[in-house]
């Protein structure tokens, strides 16, 4: 595969044409995966011997937490592309992904708190993973606020890209906090390349389907929202041209 061919999609028109073709299919696959995964997990998996029926929260909590971190890492990559190659589509893709990542972070935090209450006896603890997740959420808010506060698109893209680089520390900490500091209430990773560390198969397979659903939903939303950002940028440019006579 010629990776250089990917740069063709830095052209806004070509990006919209290409994503328009795949968007309906990705959306359908996302809906099917989410429905199958959630129905399978909710209705057809047993209770855990220690956690009882609260284990069913895993099908939302783990995929949303994964996407909260990976959305920021996607924003990091597209921000770096903007800094190095100055492709507007990449900066706009990062902007488009931020609200999706922020919602994923809220879902992970909310379901974590609801799950934590009966299991740990508290809604919240200043545990390394929980705290780094909360800081990641604040970075999402700051990132979106910075885009909204700066009128010039290129300046906004420059400054938000720098913020994204700084926030990446917390995205990585959110993922590896449990390994760095062997303390706190949060358990280790539920999924691992080492099969021994994974949750039991009966929970694992529906969880994989849910993760696929969340990933596909994220891709669909980022494509749609990037198209919108491209069109909004063109609208602003045309209006500015019109004002100048």
């Amino acid at each position: 595969m010629n990776l250089n061919a990917l740069w063709a999609y830095a052209n806004p028109k070509k990006f919209i044409q290409a994503t328009d073709r795949v968007l309906p299919w990705i959306s359908i696959l996302a809906i099917v995966s989410l429905v199958v995964g959630l129905v399978w997990g909710f209705f057809f998996t047993p209770e855990d011997y220690r956690q009882g029926s609260t284990v069913k929260i895993i099908y939302i909590h783990v995929p949303s937490a994964l996407m909260a971190i990976n959305a920021w890492l996607m924003m990091l990559v597209t921000s770096l592309v903007w800094i190095v190659r100055r492709h507007h589509v990449s900066a706009l893709a990062a902007r488009a992904a931020a609200p999706v990542g922020a919602v994923m972070t809220v879902i992970a935090l909310a379901t974590g708190a609801i799950w934590g209450q009966p299991m740990w006896g508290t809604w919240w603890a200043w545990d390394p993973r929980l705290t780094s997740f909360l800081i990641l959420f604040l970075f999402y808010l700051g990132y979106m606020a910075l885009w909204a506060a700066i009128e010039d698109d290129d300046t906004a893209a420059d400054l938000t890209s720098i913020l994204c680089l700084v926030g990446s520390v917390f995205a990585l900490l959110s993922r590896y906090a449990v390994n760095f500091w062997n303390q706190g209430l949060h358990q280790g990773a539920s999924l691992s390349l080492d099969k021994e560390e994974n949750v039991a198969d009966v929970f694992y397979y529906p969880l994989l389907v849910c993760i696929a659903g969340f990933v596909l939903l994220f891709i669909a939303l980022v494509f749609l929202r990037t198209q919108t950002e491209i069109r909004a940028r063109r609208t602003r440019a045309l209006l500015a041209r019109e004002r100048m006579g």
């Binding site: 209705f43 009882g52 879902i107």
Partner: protein, 52 residues
């Protein structure tokens, strides 16, 4: 059909309820803005074409 969630029913159902509601709002807001911006751009472009 509904599984017996026992004493944790409230926690499980509220987790699903909050999450699904947030996802639906996110999708709805994204689609709504996409339609609005697309229409706005089409109007401006057709006006620009008309005015030469």
């Amino acid at each position: 059909m509904m599984p017996d969630l026992g004493k944790y029913a409230e926690a499980v159902l509220s987790s699903y309820g909050v999450s699904i509601a947030l996802l639906v709002v996110l999708v709805w807001a994204s689609l709504r803005r996409a339609r609005r911006v697309k229409k706005q751009l089409e109007d401006i472009e057709s006006k620009a074409k008309r005015d030469g």
